[in-house]
C-alpha cells in the first residue's frame, strides 16, 4: 500500500494503541478490561502496521521467533504462578502467600496471571495474521 496519509496516520496511532492496550491490561482490577481484551488491542496495533507497511516490515519489529517466544512465555507464566503457590504450600493457582498480606498476594497473582493471558492472546493473534498473510492458496498441489 503506497498511501502517504495511511502511513503517517499509522505511525502516529501505533504507540497510543499499545499504550491503551497496556492501560486496559493493568487497569483490569479496577475497571472493565483484562488480559484478553488488552492482548487483542495490542495485536491490533501490530496488524495495522503489517497491513499498511507490509508483513515483511512488521516482521522486523516483531520477528517470528520473538512472537513464538512470547506466545509460549504467556502460557508458561500463568502455569508458573500456580506452581509457585504450590511450592509455598497452598493449592494450585491460589495466590494468598505470594505477597506479605493476603490482599497483596492476590494483587500480585492476578496481575501476573492477567499479564500471561495478555501475552498469549496478543501473540496468537499476530501469529494468526502472519500465517494468513503468508499463506499461498493451493501451493502444495504439486507435492
Amino acid at each position: 500500500m503506497n498511501n502517504l496519509i495511511l502511513k503517517v496516520c499509522t505511525k502516529v496511532l501505533f504507540t497510543p494503541i499499545i499504550l491503551f492496550g497496556l492501560y486496559v491490561q493493568f487497569h483490569g482490577d479496577f475497571g472493565p478490561g483484562g488480559g484478553f481484551q488488552a492482548g487483542v488491542i495490542v495485536a491490533a496495533a501490530f496488524i495495522l502496521y503489517a497491513m499498511v507497511f507490509g508483513v515483511d516490515k512488521c516482521k522486523i519489529i516483531m520477528p517470528t521467533k520473538l512472537n513464538f517466544f512470547l506466545l509460549v512465555l504467556g502460557a508458561f507464566l500463568y502455569g508458573f504462578v500456580g506452581i509457585v503457590g504450590l511450592i509455598l504450600g497452598e493449592p494450585y493457582l491460589s495466590y494468598d502467600l505470594l505477597g506479605s498480606t493476603k490482599q497483596s498476594g492476590q494483587h500480585i497473582g492476578i496481575l501476573l496471571v492477567e499479564f500471561g493471558v495478555g501475552l498469549t492472546v496478543c501473540n496468537v493473534m499476530i501469529c494468526l495474521f502472519y500465517s494468513f498473510a503468508n499463506f499461498k492458496f493451493g501451493s502444495n498441489k504439486n507435492d
Binding site: L93, Q106, G109, V113, Y130, S131, A133, F135, S139
Partner: protein
Amino acid sequence: MITEIIINAFLVSFMLVIALFIVNTRKVIFTILLAGTYSLVAALMFVSLDAVDVAFTEASVGAGISTILFLAALSFLPKEEVQESFNKNDIFALSICLLIGGLLIWASYDLPMVGNENNPVHQHLVSDFIEGSKNHIGIPNVVTAILASYRGYDTFGETIVIYTAGLAVFILLYNRTSKETNKSVKNEISKK
C-alpha cells in the same frame, strides 16, 4: 425503565435488520463487514445489560480482530457467493428452524426476570464472590476477581485453548508456505 425498553427494542430490531442483510447479500466482503457491525451492536446490548467486561471483549474480539482476520482470509475466497437454486429440502430445513426457534421462545417465558435479586443464580455463590472480592482479594472489579482468582483454573484452560488453536493454525498454514518458499528459492538457485 421506559427508556431502557426503547433502547433495547431499537438494538434488537437493528440486529434483526443486519441479520437479514447478511442473509441477502451475495458479496463476501459485505457479509464480513456486516458481521462486524452485528458484533458491535451486540456489544451495545451487553452494555445495556451492565455487562461491561463482556461488551469490551465482544467489541474488541468480535467486531475488531475477527473482522480483520476474515478480511485477511478473504483473498483466498471467491468474491461472490454462488446463487443456489431452491430445492425441496429447504422447506424441511426451514420448518425445523421455525419449530426449534418457536420452542426456544416458548421456553424463554419460564426464565426469571433479568436483574431480580431473588433469581436462583444470585442465591448460591454470587454473594460470597461479591463479599470476597471486597474483603479477601481487595479489588473493585468482581469480574476480574472471579476470572483470575476464584476461577483461575478455567481461565488457565481458556489460555491453553487459545495457545493450542494458534499453534494448530500456524502448523497447518505454515507448512504450505515454507514448501512454497523453499521451492522458489531452489528455482532461483537452479536458474542461476
